[in-house]
Symmetry: C2
Subunit: 249 residues, 2 copies
């Protein structure tokens, strides 16, 4: 049997904040630990041969079943004592993971965690719990329970990073239908930023940068309501994602 300390980089972990968007709702993906009755973000350790993004993708896949997400690093959490475990947690790990967790075990060493976040359309994915978890579920951003360690702070910082990011990188691809109306993309931005934005000025910048383009097609949503449809210009979207932009609405 290979020991964990031969496979993983000691003192380091990764925690993932997956935001889920759907029709003006923003949620976060959480795991509930078996027996311990505790909630946490999906997290894990970095294998020696992995780079950080590969590690984050593997961890997320193993712990929640989710893949193909654009995970972005945003902050490192390193207060001494942030990940101290109590006796019950150590007992759980010993029993469940079949580890002999003694006083000097590597899992009890000071652990500094690198935060990654991603955004997905939560009605389109199926989170699947892992061996350690009782459930893997979406939780409304405003109703997050007390999480283990400093995970509540990790969520707060991830939300700050996401809110700053959407001024500098486009967002919406995979979150909106292929063809969408301006109110739909407007709702997405308002939900993430949690503030009102001008209905008329808002789309101008996206249009002027060429990130979205107007289609010669309308959506029928009622007797006298048929807003025009738009779609993302994928090459321009990708370019803006790579090079960064300054979007102001």
């Amino acid at each position: 049997m290979l020991h964990a300390e031969d496979r993983f980089v000691k003192h380091l972990s990764i925690d993932c904040v997956v935001f889920g968007y759907h029709e003006r709702q923003l949620k976060v993906l959480l795991l509930k630990w078996k027996e311990l009755n505790k909630w946490s973000l999906p997290g894990g350790f970095i294998a020696f041969k992995e780079n950080l993004r590969q590690a984050a993708e593997r961890i997320l896949k193993e712990r929640t079943g989710l893949d193909d997400l654009f995970l972005q690093q945003f902050h490192v959490f390193g207060e001494p004592g942030r990940s101290d475990r109590n006796a019950k947690e150590i007992e759980f790990l010993s029993a469940k993971a079949n580890m002999k967790v003694e006083k000097d075990h590597w899992i009890l060493a000071r652990t500094i965690s690198i935060g990654f976040y991603a955004v997905t359309e939560f009605s389109k994915v199926n989170p699947t719990k892992d061996f350690f978890s009782e459930s893997c579920t979406w939780c409304d951003i405003h109703k997050i329970p007390k999480l283990i360690f400093d995970h509540n702070q990790i969520v707060t910082e991830a939300l700050k990073a996401l809110r700053m990011q959407i001024y500098h990188q486009p967002i919406g691809y995979n979150l909106l239908p292929e063809k969408f109306t301006l109110p739909e993309i407007h709702d997405l931005y308002e939900t993430i930023l949690e503030k009102k934005m001008d209905r008329r000025n808002f789309p101008k910048k996206l249009l002027s940068l060429g990130i979205i383009k107007k289609l010669d097609k309308q959506k029928s949503i009622g007797a006298h309501r048929s807003p025009f449809l738009y779609k993302f210009d994928k090459p321009k979207y990708e370019k803006a994602l790579k090079e960064g932009v300054v979007l102001v609405f």
Copy 2:
């Protein structure tokens, strides 16, 4: 003698990118290693009892003499092999640091580095080289030599982070004289962003947020030139620094 592996967190380091600004010039603080003829960023390891910012401050102080800088974490660099050392470097460390660096020595283990950056007024500080360095000097941002490991990439990412930050946090306190003209603060932003900004629209946002305020005082810089002086409103500046803003010029 205390061994380094008892004092420091294995597998982790911190590298600091200190940007220096002075009259339309932007520089970066570099160290040149004794004997090895190699340039690097000031970096070091995290002691067990330190949090990340404390470690970054201590490392910067030890290696360059600089303190009282507002160091900000911006990215983690973790490609496997990024910090592999060659035989000459290992020999240097063995001799200079009086370490017996054998094949399994902790300093040769995979090391993931947390990047911090800060900005200072370079004409006001005196960088001082440490024991390992032949020199500690400011280098023009456009003339950075080949640095060790992935340090060139670290500088590039730090500059990206700084450029994004100045849209969301005020900058200039300690970089400009206490009382400054609009062209002086305009130059600061243009130098960092490396782009032209409208002379008239630029200060409007800073004024409307109350970050800078106009004084009833002019600076005499020539026969017919006496621009008004401005200063930062420290409480509003601090508030904007803490809460974040969206500045667009």
